[in-house]
Amino acid sequence: MSDAAIAVRPVRAAPRGGGLTGLLLVFLPVGLLAWLILYPILRAVIRTLVVQTGTGPALSLETYRFFFTDGYSLANLWLTLWVTALCAVLLLAVCLPIALYLRFAKSRIAALVQGLALFPMFVPSVILAYALIRTLGPNGAVDLVLNAAGLPKIASPYLTPAGPVIGLVWDNIPLTVLMLVAGLGNVSDNAVEAARDAGARPFALLRHIILPQIGNALLVVLSFTVLSIFSAFTLPYVLGPASPEMMGPFMQRTFTDVQDPRMAITQAVITFAICAGFGAFYVRSIARNREASR
């Protein structure tokens, strides 16, 4: 018993010293996180909850009550949730086939497809918004081609909720494809070939061999896209309808135009709370992943 304890001691001491170095190493990012993110969040929450009255500070839920009883604000929140959910589904539908192709294709065309899939990453969203107006917008390039072929014009998505959905999906393709391809890297060629040898058809292969192994990657993809789409600003601002607004433009308008910072921060806190929920998904899946690989 005592021999075992002695044998264990040096092993334990090593990680203790390493822990201190590790803490020092993460101090900078953690400190920055606390200063630039956690502290403003805490301040924002306090600013929305505490009001100065004649007798001193008092707790008030008034702005939250207003938000959750105001039909206009709720419509904006619903639209944001709806656009986010739709974009997430569309992104998976578009990107999973591309990622599967890139994972298993060995041809030269695959490099070209990869280049095309990553291209949106290098296009700023303002440029993208104007490009979409010129192509899919009314009397845009698509309409000109259709007209030349004697076909009727398309129903333009410009200034309708479909506008930002198309823009956001295109804008988020690169990150989604990259993460899915990384996730698909975990799927071993051996498993796929074994299943093929056993006579599995492509769909069964996807369902029983590939999907179970990339569940984690899918979760990560979902939480990332949800986070970035929920807080989108430029595309809904330029391409979307005047009302309902997505939360990004709505917050900006409440802050600068209505000049009601407390209400704008309330909207931001609510948005943040929803995003934090999805963030928790991400953290949980990472933690689970670590445990599994340990």
């Binding site: 403003p40 969040i41 301040r43 924002a44 600013r47 206009y72 419509a75 700023p124 969203s125 303002v126 107006i133 917008g137 009314p138 009397n139 845009g140 200034l159 309708t160 970035s228 807080s231 989108a232 600003f233 430029t234 601002y237 330029v238 309808p241 005047a242 009302s243 309902p244 607004e245 990004g248 433009p249 917050m251 900006q252 308008r253 802050f255 600068t256 135009d257 209505v258 000049q259 009601d260 910072p261 704008a264 921060i265 931001a268 948005t271 943040f272």
Partner: protein
């Protein structure tokens, strides 16, 4: 005139934006005898300052160095003005000499603290030439104006038939569904002043009824509700049954692409768009004759604690000179800030048709939030669109 979507994502904590805006110039600028001009206007205006005003000023005052900084929009200018107000209390250099496109009422407590130079007292050269119609207070110097008017596709609308009254305009919109669009009132003044013209229409076409002092929640509710009715009645006949563009430029773009036949525009922007070929030569312009669409003057302001105050006042005076004021007409498509009697007679004659007798204005201050947010809540969702 426009709010710029410069940020891909809105910061989670709104306060950080103002903090960042206040920090950045402080890091970038030092007290080196430079006149810092902060502008909140579109890029055509900051280009005009850099390419037209500054070379001319330098030719007169070679020793003075001027730097034009784009503050983005009025929210950006507010942050800089708040800094100047704070510096007034501590006696520090505010590192700003001149504000472009700003008004005194936008800085809470600024007027009371005596933050702004009184141009009447300062006796700067040119103050007596400023158009009395354009003057609001002695703390701001109106130096250029522009007005909203209607631009239309003259190949589709006979110029003789173009609407010249509000009634004729609403009749035209109803008779030509889908052919008219205006932008969201907070995203650019062309749509904003179209909405304000509807408010004038609903309240006896009397611009004098609306002043910053006349604002009260009760009066706003009473005056705005009938205007929302007018705009809601017209909504189903607008483009896409009630769609609204997100800026002045986007309205011009739809007109340029032949999607709509008529839209409200800023006079300076549309003249520039025609001269640059964005809009064809066949673009017609018309102003309502029963009561014109609102316009406004952009104002210069100088904080009293500016380190280079004397140079800033010289610059302001130079901007009022006949030389710059003429270029505002020819180069910018704007209206002069000085009375028309003080511009080149040849120009006065050439522009006789577009010189407005009066430019109706609508007060900003608390009205902005009431009008813009009221529009979003009552008009933007539409009746049929839910």
């Amino acid at each position: 005139m426009t709010a710029h979507p410069t940020r891909r994502r809105f910061l989670q904590a709104g306060g950080a934006t103002a903090a960042a805006a206040a920090l950045m110039p402080r890091l970038a600028l030092a007290d080196d005898g430079t006149v810092n001009v902060y502008t909140g206007s579109d890029s055509n205006i900051s280009d005009f300052w850099t390419n037209v005003i500054l070379p001319g000023f330098r030719a007169q005052n070679g020793s003075v160095n001027v730097r034009v900084v784009d503050a983005g929009d009025s929210a950006g200018l507010r942050a800089i003005a708040d800094r100047a107000l704070a510096a007034l209390g501590t006696g520090k250099d505010p590192q700003v000499e001149l504000f472009e496109a700003f008004t005194p009422d936008q800085t809470a407590g600024g007027v009371e603290a005596g933050l702004w130079v009184d141009f009447a007292e300062a006796g700067i050269d040119g103050w007596d030439r400023v158009n009395p119609e354009a003057k609001q207070t002695d703390l701001d110097l109106p130096y250029r104006g522009s007005q909203v008017l209607l631009a239309y596709d003259a190949t589709r609308i006979d110029p003789a038939e173009a609407p010249r009254s509000w009634e004729a305009l609403t009749a035209w919109i109803a008779a030509n569904p889908g052919q008219f669009i205006y932008n969201r009132p907070d995203k650019g003044g062309s749509g904003g002043n179209f909405v304000r013209r509807a408010i004038h229409e609903a309240n006896g076409r009397d611009p004098k009824a609306f002043t910053i002092a006349s604002y009260s929640e009760a009066f706003a509710a009473e005056a705005l509700a009938p205007a929302w009715d007018i705009l809601n009645a017209m909504a189903p006949d607008l483009y896409e049954g009630g769609a609204y563009t997100s800026g002045n430029t986007q309205s011009i773009q739809l007109l340029a692409q032949g999607v709509v036949s008529m839209t409200p525009v800023w006079s300076d922007q549309v003249l520039q768009a025609v001269s640059m070929g964005v809009l064809p030569e066949t673009t017609g312009l018309v102003q309502l004759q029963d009561l014109a669409l609102c316009g406004g003057f952009s104002r210069m302001m100088v904080p009293v604690n500016a380190a280079e105050k004397a140079a800033a006042l010289e610059l302001a005076s130079y901007v009022l000179s006949a030389e710059v004021q003429s270029k505002i007409i020819t180069g910018l498509g704007g209206f002069p800030g000085v009375s028309w009697d003080h511009v080149d007679p040849a120009l006065r004659e050439a522009y006789a048709d577009v010189i407005p007798a009066t430019i109706p204005t609508f007060p900003s201050g608390p009205w902005d939030a009431a009008v813009n947010d009221g529009w979003y809540r009552n008009v933007a969702p539409g009746i049929s669109r839910g």
